[in-house]
């Protein structure tokens, strides 16, 4: 459980970070909270000859609530998310989800940026950000660009981020309606057996909009557009719930692991989604 040797850098600004990334390409990685990267380095599953510690780079730890969007700096920790009362008011699903990530000690260190950028299908924030239609802000040698969370994930640990880019912030349109983050796990600290993020709105005709994303049920987070669509225009009755679950099951592709076989995961995914929709709908 000892990583291979590596060079450690601690630049003071983003230009310094990008310069190191340009020099070393995919041999360099940035380090935020370290709760995904460092275990992989210790297991020697990730070899990182050049490790760039981000903690002296300022300006990445703010939560800004604007009229239309929330902007969360990449170095904001899960604990910061939980503690921000104003954020809990405008986007309560972030707090509900963050409270289900790992344990308090990990949440003091683990960051939003690291969670979404690493591309680990077990992480909770990627699916949540897809549900919320978040945008990821990336900075590289040629300046900033924005990538939709729904377009960011390509495969496990493979994302739209280029080797020379750093994810600096997440911006989220202010969520509307009811919400729920529902997660089944074997114990505190575990990844999800299945997790569902649901944001749902209602008008006089019933459900007016619904957004659904699932976690740890494929090699990427799964934004299930069809599952959301199955609810729109309905009164979110049993038939609509069944249709949404069926649509979601069509989109996910779980694999067997120690949490259980595929049939179990699919069944539980359906149960978890149904519960998430019911809870979100009750809050809409």
């Amino acid at each position: 459980m000892i990583p291979a040797s590596f060079e450690y850098y601690r630049p003071k600004d983003m230009a310094g970070v990008i310069a190191i990334l340009q020099e070393h390409g995919d041999e360099a990685r940035v380090l935020a909270g370290g709760h995904s990267l460092i275990p992989m380095m210790k297991l020697r599953m990730a070899e990182v000859p050049h490790l760039i510690d981000m903690q002296d780079v300022g300006g990445l730890s703010d939560i800004e609530i604007g009229p239309d969007r929330v902007r969360i700096g990449a170095m904001v920790t899960q604990s910061d998310l939980i503690d921000d009362a104003a954020l809990a008011k405008v986007a309560p699903i972030l707090r509900e989800a963050a409270l289900q990530i790992a344990d308090p000690q990990v949440r003091y260190m683990g960051t939003v940026g690291g969670n979404v950028a690493n591309g680990d299908p077990g992480n909770d924030m990627p699916g949540l950000m897809q549900c919320l239609d978040a945008t990821f802000v990336l900075i590289g040698p040629d300046g900033e660009r924005a990538v939709a969370a729904r377009d960011f994930y390509e495969a496990a640990y493979m994302t739209a981020r280029e080797d020379e880019e750093v994810l600096t912030a997440v911006t989220i349109p202010l969520p509307k309606g009811g919400y729920a983050y529902e997660k089944q796990k074997r114990k505190i600290g575990d990844y999800a057996t299945a997790a569902a993020a649901v944001q749902i709105s209602k008008d006089q005709n019933g459900c007016s909009a619904a957004s659904i994303a699932m976690t740890n049920l494929s090699d990427t987070p799964i934004f299930s557009e069809a599952a959301g669509a199955a609810l729109v225009g309905t009164s979110v009755d049993d038939a609509a719930l069944k249709a949404a679950v069926a649509a979601m099951l069509n989109d996910i592709d779980p694999t067997e692991d120690n949490r259980g076989p595929i049939a179990f995961k699919k069944y539980v995914a359906g149960v978890i989604l149904r519960r998430a929709i019911e809870r979100a709908w009750s809050r809409a």
């Binding site: 459980m1 291979a4 114990k187 505190i188 057996t193 120690n258 259980g260 179990f264 069944y267």
Partner: protein
């Protein structure tokens, strides 16, 4: 003066003796990070050793190339079996009478097996060196199933003569280790064949691991000038380790000093001898420098001693009224690549023959077959006396299955079969003599405390609601009644490697009335420094706060067999009381001399000897202690010291009654423990607070094992649960609130009536949690499902019973 005579209660309280919830004296250092564990030991010039381990479960080793590793800066040596062979140290004896490779000798038998030992200036260089040792393997067919192993043409242990008997008698197959029997086969089979009711069930008690917080490790330091070897390590039995090291290394025992410093949990994992110890000693001899070896978590989970892995098949017969008439049990025991169980020599399946449990079963038979497979060696008693969790799980499941067969309440079935209070001492059909018990009183108290009838009524309503579609949660009521067998043990039938399983205590009273006592045991968190001082305080009348307890240094402590199997209080605790009584006997003579009366005219009273009938004439133990060192007393040697080696006349048999109430989400398989009630009877209670702590810890480990903790292998012998991500270690979040309760039935043969308690909650807890899960599904036709009851397996049970859409 009169106050001092009259305030007897205060004098008793000042001692903080038996029955006092004295705060743990160890905790000041543990809670401040000031403990001294083996990895805290740092010596000048100390090197670090670590292993190249096999990625394969069964493979032949074609070659090992260490050249590239030797090029790594800081790497000093790479040891292989070829280097150890000239010293005769490439194999070592196991505690079970088998032998085990120290470093792979031509082949490997399990994933993670030690192949080479890299010695470097620090652990980082060692880790880099390991990466560069090139081992060429030729994969061999892998056997992870013991039943398949007994049919296979693949011989796992090519070093053994396939026809020759093993350490425990004849072998049926090259992959067979032993057959062990207890009880009467023919009469048992006859009773069962003619019985009114018979219940049959097969169950697998899965492989798991004790997973102590601190992993195993050691520091070996060979002083080439004076020829002395000092070995610090995580040893649950330091004296036994000293003897083993002497026997295999040829170093005379007086030149070996073994020290167990603070130990962060053992639970059986730290009883055996591991290749890391041998390699560290050799590396220290070769380099002339101290060498440290510390496992990481994966090493610990994948390669050091596992627990359980018993495939058990039972038949239990009864009358139509539910009176049990006979029990038959067969076990196929998966021991892995080497038989490295840590059981007393005559008991290769431990005390599995306690499997008649708490019940008056007139006829019984047990047969255990030990088998080699391509899994890690071990087979230790994880927080239980030897194989007692397996035995208690077996009988408590068989009782439940019999209750189903009889269509009877399982609490009532237990009640009508309990051994009765007046039957003690009770000679069980499989050989043990239970010392004392009052099972009916404990059972009635437990059932009343939880309102058992009320729970059953609630459960019936829940089943009705479930069938009516009003709820998706079922309710399970888990029952268990266990009898432990602890305190190994009488030398007449218990030894390890020929060492009798007595234990010891040596006491020195200092002139000013304080004392030090040294024991042959070693605390790993049990709180010995607190509780043994309490035993002594009550025996010798000096305050526990004035008594230091020291263990773990073989140069200073008297010889003992260590701490495991809840043996410390039954054996070393008895030695402590007996040594205290020797002190008291001499103190009585000193007191009589000082008081100018005959020895028989004084009597002990809390903290002093008083002249009979004249309570104002007394000498306190403090005064007596001083007199022992400054008075020339005719016929008495100066000083006040004693030593006792205690060979217990029998085991002790703690027992308990547990009830668990659980709600189960049928759709997700998630269990929610609503209530857990634990009544324990461990005889005389030394420190109620420590007992309660032990029960909380043991129940939590029971919850872990029952609900998810396992060492799982795939068909290729790969360990699937080698990290704490997948190996279930419950946190405060997963643990319910435990309600503890007790009755007191002292052991008649133990000097203070104590029985040992550390492992009871684990022994009784595992079947209780499991029975709760199984009971929830009983109304829908469930008979038995195997542990661990993790979410997907509970879901599978519900699914197979047709409870899903």
């Amino acid at each position: 003066m009169k106050d001092e005579i009259d305030n007897r209660d205060e004098r008793v309280a000042n001692l903080k003796g038996l029955g006092c919830s004295r705060k743990r004296v160890e905790d000041a250092r543990f809670t401040q990070g000031k403990g001294n564990y083996v990895d805290d030991i740092k010596l000048d010039g100390m090197l670090f050793g670590d292993f190249v381990r096999s990625p394969y479960a069964h493979a032949r080793i074609k070659s090992i190339d260490t050249a590239a590793a030797m090029e790594v800066p800081g790497v000093l040596a790479v040891l292989t079996a070829a280097d150890l062979e000239p010293l005769g140290l490439h194999w070592m004896p196991t505690l079970a009478g088998d032998k085990q490779m120290v470093l792979a000798d031509g082949k490997v038998l399990f994933q993670g097996q030690e192949v080479a030992f890299v010695v470097a200036e620090d652990r980082f260089a060692a880790a880099d060196g390991i990466e560069l040792v090139e081992v060429e393997y030729e994969e061999l067919p892998v056997i992870v199933d013991p039943f398949e192993s007994l049919k296979s043409d693949v011989v796992l242990r090519e070093d053994l003569d396939p026809k020759a008997p093993g350490a425990h008698g004849p072998r049926k197959h090259p992959n067979h280790i032993f057959t062990w029997e207890a009880g009467d086969k023919a009469p048992t089979e006859e009773v069962i064949a003619n019985a009114e009711v018979v219940a049959t069930e097969s169950m697998y008690y899965h492989r798991t691991h004790p997973c102590p917080l601190e992993t195993c490790g050691c520091v070996a330091s060979m002083d080439k000038v004076n020829g002395k070897l000092t070995l610090w390590g995580t040893f649950q039995a330091p004296h036994a380790i000293r003897t083993v090291v002497s026997l295999i290394s040829g170093i005379e025992e007086h030149n070996i000093r073994v020290i167990s410093p603070d130990i962060g949990g053992g639970f059986g994992n730290k009883v055996g001898a591991y290749p890391g110890y041998v390699c560290s000693v050799v590396a220290s001899i070769v380099t002339g420098k101290p060498v440290k070896w510390i496992e990481d978590r994966m090493d610990n989970l994948m390669t050091t001693a596992f627990a359980r892995d018993y495939h058990m098949t039972g038949k239990i017969s009864a009358t139509k009224e539910g009176k049990i008439t006979a029990l038959h049990c067969h076990v196929t025991a998966d021991h892995g690549g080497f038989d490295a169980c840590a059981d007393p020599t005559k008991f290769p399946a431990g005390f599995m023959n306690i499997c008649t449990g708490s019940y008056d079963i007139p006829t019984a038979y047990l047969e255990v077959d030990g088998v080699y497979t391509n899994k890690a060696p071990g087979g230790v008693s994880y927080r239980c006396s030897f194989r007692v969790t397996e035995a208690v799980y077996f009988i408590e499941r068989m009782i439940e299955v019999l209750a189903i067969e009889l269509n009877m309440d399982a609490a009532e079935l237990r009640r009508i079969n309990f051994i009765k209070k007046e039957q003690f001492p009770y000679k069980a059909a499989l050989g043990w003599e239970y010392d004392s018990g009052d099972y009916h009183t404990a059972w009635d108290k437990a059932l009343k405390a939880v309102d058992y009838d009320g729970l059953r009524a609630e459960q019936a309503q829940r089943v009705a609601d479930f069938k009516a579609g009003k709820t998706r949660k079922l309710m399970g009521i888990g029952l268990s009644f266990f009898t432990e067998i602890v305190g190994a043990g009488p030398v007449k039938n218990c030894d390890i490697l020929g060492l009798g399983m007595f234990d010891s205590c040596e006491i020195r009273i200092h002139p000013t009335g304080s004392a030090i006592a040294r024991l042959g045991t070693i605390s790993q968190g049990q709180g010995h420094a607190t509780t043994f001082a309490q035993i002594l305080a009550s025996e010798i009348g000096l305050p526990a706060d004035s008594i230091t307890i020291e263990e773990g240094d073989t140069d200073t402590a008297p010889y003992g067999l260590g701490t495991y199997g809840s043996r410390s209080t039954p054996v070393a605790g008895a030695a402590t009381a007996m040594a205290g009584r020797k002190i008291r006997a001499k103190a009585q003579m000193i007191a009589a001399y000082l008081l100018e009366v005959h020895d028989n005219d004084v009597e002990f009273d809390v903290d002093r000897f008083v002249v009979k009938g004249a309570p104002e004439r007394f000498k306190t133990m403090k005064e007596i202690a001083f007199a022992a060192y400054n008075q020339a007393i005719p016929g008495l040697e100066p000083g006040l010291e004693a030593v006792s080696y205690y060979d217990p006349p029998n085991m002790t048999y703690p027992f308990g009654a547990y009830v668990c109430v659980m709600d189960i989400d049928v759709d997700t398989g998630v269990p929610d423990i609503r209530r857990f009630y634990a009544l324990d009877d461990c005889g005389t209670r030394i420190n109620p607070m420590i007992i309660e702590g032990q029960i909380h810890g043991g129940l939590t480990e029971a919850l872990a094992v029952a609900l998810g903790q396992e060492i799982a292998y795939d068909d290729m012998g790969n360990v699937k649960t080698g990290t704490l991500m997948d190996f279930f270690l419950p946190t405060a979040w997963e643990v319910p609130n435990y309600e503890t309760d007790f009755t007191v039935t002292p052991s008649p043969h133990h000097p203070i009536g104590a029985k040992g308690v550390g492992e009871s909650p684990h022994v009784g807890g595992v079947p209780c949690f499991s029975n709760a899960v199984q009971d929830a599904f009983r109304p829908f036709g469930n008979r038995h499902t195997n542990m661990p009851h993790d979410h997907w397996r509970i879901w599978r049970t519900a699914n197979e019973l047709g409870l899903h859409d």
